[in-house]
């Protein structure tokens, strides 16, 4: 499908493919949003380049998805905004099922701190060089990653120790 990019995004994509020819795997559009799939090793470099050279200074969100495929099962998506040019771009990274890990972007945006913790909590994707890699919603004692597709909707009985609802009987 041919891309229908606006002038500004076209320029960004052109520069990116020129500079990081080996790391850009795919550029596509869906429902009017622009997605760029990049190699996992290059995520911090490309983020830094977009932030410094193209004014994508605001990191709105970082989140994961579970593609549930045998290869490259997990996906991490960065949602970036350029306030000056009113543009939004999504960067995507595919990660393997075994030990999914990627470099953290907290060195560029402090806001990535909680977003990455949330991704770790829900999918078990580790972010290296993250200052505070703990779970965020689930307690640390919890052993599963709830948004993975194999996790049952009803949860796993007995996976969290809960306070007794009848405190009189000890």
């Amino acid at each position: 499908m041919p891309l229908e990019l606006n002038e500004y995004l076209q320029k960004v994509i052109d520069r990116l493919t020129e500079r990081y020819a080996d790391s850009i795997i795919d550029v596509y559009q869906s429902s009017g949003d622009t997605f760029v799939r990049i190699a996992p090793e290059a995520n911090v470099d490309i983020c830094r380049y977009l932030r410094n050279e193209h004014h994508f200074i605001y990191l709105v969100d970082v989140f994961g998805t579970d593609r549930f495929t045998s290869e490259d099962r997990f996906e991490v998506i960065y949602n970036l905004i350029s306030l000056r040019d009113r543009q939004r771009i999504f960067l995507k990274v595919w990660l393997p099922e075994e030990n999914p890990a990627i470099e953290s972007v907290t060195s560029l945006w402090n806001s990535a701190n909680w977003f990455e913790r949330q991704t770790y909590d829900m999918f078990g994707i580790r972010f290296t060089n993250h200052p505070d890699m703990r779970r965020i919603y689930m307690p640390e004692d919890f052993e599963y990653f709830p948004l993975r597709k194999e996790f049952p909707l009803l949860g796993i009985p007995g996976s969290i120790e809960l306070p007794s609802t009848t405190p009189d009987i000890e």
């Binding site: 969100d61 689930m138 307690p139 640390e140 004692d141």
Partner: protein, 430 residues
């Protein structure tokens, strides 16, 4: 006496590993810049645990504060006490079925959340929304914004010490609830928006009530300005407290009025206009100070702008249907359902399967909720259920900055700062 590690002092009963890691994180927080003191001869250092059951934390927010006397040296937040896993639930529901869950995300402005979900689904599934529905949605969203800001104002002033003020803002909120009751059929969790439009048209009573409210409300705001703008106590509690500097605001990821209070006019209504926000006139209030008072002014002016938008919408409100007339995309009207066989089949199919966006499609759409940018990212696998639905919650981003702005503040200002940032835990914890 040498200060022991925090971990030796506390003995958590539940979620041991979780609690220990939290205290460890508090201890480790910016150890690179500060050297932990070996001695504490006056015994002024302590760890204060605040919440999750605390009236001033606006829900179930938990803070662990390391104090030195009355100064907060470091703060760590613990969220997740209201985690219900709505993103997981969304993957097992049709798009329309998921709407009541969005009401319970940011429960102070359910209307904005409904619209956020609908606009995202409409974007991914290419649904056209009739003009009139757009305007009704805008009216609903702005009323929800006022309602949310009223609660924020009441609790902020209460956090600063004036309890009776809370009753005044709630008197106005009560009027808004009555309007929502007339407009949508529910007072609180409205679920009024539908994919492809809204559930029902504005009734004449609702119209009259909205007009009355839009006429009366600016007078109330003026009164509140009179009370607060020259109030020494209110000023002293809020000025220069919880400062988020302009140069830091974007990097820390603030959203909504908190970001605008720090100098960035970032508002989804002007950044990427949805509904018909490009056809009405309004300002995006911005301040440069970045303290609690700046956030106060931003939100107060936003309420003014909301009234301005509502009045324009009422003037412009076009005639026509309120839901798209395509049975494959939206629920048919009740007239059709009750009096024609096709209508009933379509209604059943919409409830059973729902709307099916194209396979492999992805879309992100954000609206400006009262707390900031509220976005829904949807990945579709071609069925009636989303493959993945990610909710970008503004409160989550705003709570994150609390960890930065609380450091160095007085412990007595904690509640005011939380009140000024205006988090909603239902949205943050999802």
């Amino acid at each position: 006496m040498p200060t022991k590690s925090i971990k030796d002092k506390v003995k958590p009963t539940f979620f041991k590993e979780h609690q220990e890691k939290l205290y460890q994180a508090l201890e480790d927080k910016h150890t690179t810049v500060e050297i932990m003191k070996d001695k504490d001869p006056l015994g002024t250092e302590m760890i204060l645990n605040m919440g999750p059951q605390h009236p001033a934390t606006h829900g179930v927010l938990r803070l662990t504060l390391q104090l030195n006397g009355e100064i907060i040296e470091k703060a760590k937040l613990d969220v997740g006490y209201l985690h219900r896993g709505v993103e997981k639930i969304a993957e097992n529901k049709t798009y329309q079925e998921f709407m009541p869950y969005t009401d319970r995300m940011d429960y102070l402005s359910p209307y904005s959340n409904n619209v956020a979900l609908c606009t995202a689904v409409e974007k991914i599934a290419n649904v056209e929304v009739p003009e009139r529905a757009h305007y009704i949605r805008m009216i609903g969203c702005e009323l929800a914004r006022i309602s949310s800001h009223l609660l924020w104002l009441g609790t902020l002033v209460m956090d600063a010490g004036a309890v009776s003020f809370f009753i005044w803002t709630f008197r106005e909120r009560e009027k808004l609830y009555d309007i929502f009751d007339q407009l949508t059929g529910h007072r609180f969790t409205v679920s009024h928006a539908r994919i492809g439009g809204v559930a029902n048209d504005i009734t004449d009573t609702a119209m009259a009530m909205i007009k009355d409210f839009a006429n009366e409300f600016p007078k109330e705001i003026t009164d509140w300005h009179k009370l607060l703008d020259r109030n020494r106590i209110f000023f002293d509690r809020n000025e220069g407290v919880g400062v988020l500097k302009t140069e830091e605001a974007l990097e820390k990821g603030a959203a909504g009025p908190t970001l605008r209070g720090s100098g960035y006019a970032y508002d989804m209504r002007t950044f990427a206009p949805y509904a018909r926000y490009d056809e009405v006139e309004f300002e995006v209030p911005t301040r440069l100070e970045g303290d609690n008072l700046a956030r106060y002014y931003c939100r107060m002016e936003e309420m003014h702008e909301s009234i301005h938008i509502i009045q324009q919408c009422l003037d412009k409100l076009p005639k026509g249907p309120v839901r798209t007339d395509n049975a494959k995309q939206a629920y048919p009207s009740k007239d059709e359902v009750y009096y024609s066989m096709e209508g009933m089949i379509h209604d059943f199919m919409m409830t059973d399967t729902g709307i099916c966006p194209p396979e492999g499609a992805e879309a992100y759409h954000a609206v400006e909720a009262p707390k900031g940018e509220l976005g829904y990212f949807i990945q579709s696998d071609g069925t009636g259920h989303p493959w993945r639905m990610k909710i970008k919650a503004p409160s989550f981003a705003n709570l994150q900055i609390l960890e930065y702005i609380l450091d160095g503040e007085m412990v007595a200002d904690t509640v005011v700062i939380i009140g000024g940032v205006d988090p909603v835990m239902g949205e943050c914890d999802k």
